[in-house]
């Protein structure tokens, strides 16, 4: 695929292939083919990314118990879902845990992010490492080590232990997100506020905090989602009466496929999509605020 010209192309970045340039018809054919294959590849990828999700939603309205063939539209499974008291309880538990852990981890995760981004101090590196560990540790390891720890303390398993565990991994995610947002905020803004007569406290609440708020909310949404999402850690640290939704659903799945789960999963999908769109809208708003 030797090209015939040595003049670098001056095409805009957004348009077409980065290596496009004037070339012979033969080379152009291969280039077109390459582009075509690449686009096809991407298209297939996106289809497979969404195939399971779409299938799930479609078959939650299927009359048949089996997911092979379409036998007619029904809302029956959604109806049964809302009658399921155990699932309702699990949802309630999940929400209790998610709200509590979001509150705690957002508060202390934001605090540590502010300290790390604002000050240089001894122990900064160890804290960085400490925050990094919960992100990379496998959840199975996190689950068993917390179980062992609570067993050692004779702490009975329940809401408290779940919230402690979820907070332990959520602090890191909140801190990472808030720090990223803080790094985008011009540090001279608070200096400017000081210069105009605001003390540190006033400068933070009037300037730093409003600018940081979208980051904090994005962190909170992430913490909330991760808490609702978690199965493995929760499995080890939950006790009777504190079973969360993923744990309950997992148990049902292990017993076999039921259309009721399709319906529940579809609802969960829609809920998480709303959360994602919400958090992205927040981020967009915050980036618009940046000059």
């Amino acid at each position: 695929m030797a090209s015939s010209s040595t003049t670098p192309s001056t095409q805009p970045v957004t348009e077409g292939h980065p290596t496009s340039r004037v070339s012979s018809g033969f080379a152009s054919f291969w280039r077109q083919l390459g582009k075509f294959l690449l686009s096809g590849w991407a298209l297939i990828f996106f289809v497979f990314l969404y195939l399971p999700i779409v299938t799930l939603i479609v078959f939650s309205f299927n009359e048949s118990r089996f997911a092979t063939e379409w036998s007619g539209f029904t809302l029956q499974w959604y109806g049964e879902l809302f009658q399921n008291r155990l699932l309702g309880l699990a949802l309630r538990n999940s929400l209790i845990v998610a709200f509590s852990t979001t509150l705690i981890s957002t508060a202390i995760g934001t605090m540590v992010a502010v300290a790390l981004e604002r000050f240089d101090f001894k122990g900064k590196l160890p804290i960085d490492a400490l925050l990094f560990l919960p992100i990379i540790i496998p959840d199975i390891a996190m689950g068993i080590m917390l179980l062992s720890f609570f067993a050692l303390l004779n702490q009975s398993l329940g809401f408290v232990t779940i919230i402690i565990a979820h907070t332990a991994f959520n602090i890191s995610f909140v801190a990472v997100i808030v720090r990223a947002r803080m790094a985008d905020i011009d540090p001279t803004l608070e200096e400017a506020a000081n210069d105009l007569g605001a003390n540190e406290w006033q400068a933070f609440w009037r300037v730093g905090f409003p600018l940081l708020l979208p980051g904090i909310l994005a962190g909170a949404l992430t913490a909330f989602t991760l808490s609702l999402d978690d199965y493995v850690v929760t499995f080890f640290v939950s006790g009777p009466g504190s079973t969360t939704l993923p744990v309950r659903v997992y148990g049902m799945i292990r017993r076999g496929v039921t259309p009721e789960i399709n319906a529940l999963s579809s609802l969960l999908l829609v809920a998480s999509m709303i959360l994602v769109v919400l958090s992205l809208a927040l981020q967009r708003r915050s980036s618009r605020l940046n000059v």
């Binding site: 200096e191 400068a203 618009r288």
Partner: protein, 356 residues
């Protein structure tokens, strides 16, 4: 005269091992347009930040109107700053930005509104109050930053390369605007810049800094015409440095033997002794070609740059001179050509002896 607007006494600032500013003494008079000029990393911004209170000096003290600032935090100092990137609050409107300082000082609502209006009027942005900073152009943001600082009527206004982000044409316009504003409000301006031309055009006095030290303080004319060091001579405008030994001294005029062969006459403020090593600074535009100058050189390079022509002239094996001749009327001035022999000369008063 009363107390100077700003006085720095033996101010030193160290960041760990690095001395950003070392042992600076400065006296900035009331109502002055004072520039801190130097290459990046010379300590000029740190000096400004010490005056503003964002950095505390490791040693020495800052006095504003005779009052020692000691450890006074920025929000209790009678100074305001225009930041390099303006630092406008993106989540507030222009009005809210400008009103911020007054609000912090608990000035009442009606007065705040009046003064904000006046300030925006003064920087010629009367109808922009409801907009957000990102809706404004760079030049407009820069004016808002000025209004936000000036509305507080500070004793001293600190400006940290405020025109650095603007393009050339806008920068020129803003230079005039700033000068106009300063004479209008009569506030002392301390202006940080690395642009020598900007400093020369705008300032009443300039402090040239390098490596954390103040090398020379003086009016633009003094700095340009009488540099006291090779660095200042070189940094402010273009200059020729000739090195040699002192051959003879008669009052304020000395003869320096450049490269042991070429005798050069120059003005001196120093007590020189025969045989001492010394340098001579001559500005390119002070040198005349032809006209029976005392020295003889060979034209090496000719660059025509519109209003001027710039020559490189070889004097000795190790010394070349840069000469700028105005083109003016082409009938009168003839262009020399490369390879031509030409006499070179200048009035002794236009060359200055330096001993480093």
């Amino acid at each position: 005269m009363g107390n100077p607007a700003v006085q720095l006494t033996q101010v030193t600032k160290a960041f760990g091992e690095v001395l950003a500013v070392s042992d600076i003494d400065l006296r900035i008079e009331d109502g002055e347009f004072f520039s801190l000029l130097g290459p990046s990393g010379c300590g000029k911004t740190t000096t400004l930040r010490i005056i503003a209170g964002f950095e505390m000096p490791t040693q020495g003290d800052v006095l504003i109107r005779g009052r020692s600032m000691g450890q006074t935090p920025p929000f209790k100092r009678p100074v305001n700053t225009v930041f390099q990137n303006y630092a406008l609050f993106p989540h507030m409107t222009i009005e809210q930005n400008v009103a911020f300082g007054l609000e912090m000082k608990k000035v009442d609502k009606a007065e705040t509104q009046r003064r904000v209006g006046e300030a925006l009027e003064m920087v010629r942005l009367p109808n922009m109050g409801k907009r957000r900073p990102h809706q404004l152009s760079g030049g407009q943001q820069q004016r808002v930053a000025l209004a936000r600082a000036l509305v507080n009527e500070p004793e001293v206004l600190l400006l940290d390369e405020p025109l650095g982000a603007l393009d050339l044409k806008l920068r020129k316009a803003m230079q005039l605007e700033l000068k106009r504003l300063q004479s209008q409000v009569g506030i002392t301006f301390v202006y940080v810049t690395h642009d020598q031309e900007e400093a020369l055009t705008m300032s009443d006095r300039i402090a040239v800094m390098n490596d954390g030290e103040v090398l020379q303080v003086g009016s633009p004319v003094e700095i340009y015409e009488h540099p006291t060091s090779g660095f200042v001579a070189d940094f402010i405008g273009e200059s020729n440095m000739l090195y040699g030994t002192v051959y003879a001294v008669e009052g304020t005029e000395a003869v320096i033997l450049v490269d042991g062969t070429v005798p050069v006459r120059a003005h001196t403020d120093y007590d020189l002794s025969h045989g001492q090593r010394a340098g001579v600074v001559v500005r390119p535009e002070k040198i005349t070609l032809g006209n029976g100058g005392a020295l003889l050189g060979r034209v090496e390079e000719v660059v025509y740059i519109g209003t001027d022509t710039r020559y490189s002239i070889r004097l000795t094996d190790s010394t070349t001179l840069i000469v700028r001749e105005q083109n003016g009327n082409s009938d009168q001035v003839r262009l020399y050509e490369a390879g031509e022999e030409v006499s070179v000369g200048w009035s002794p008063a236009q060359a200055i002896v330096l001993v480093d």
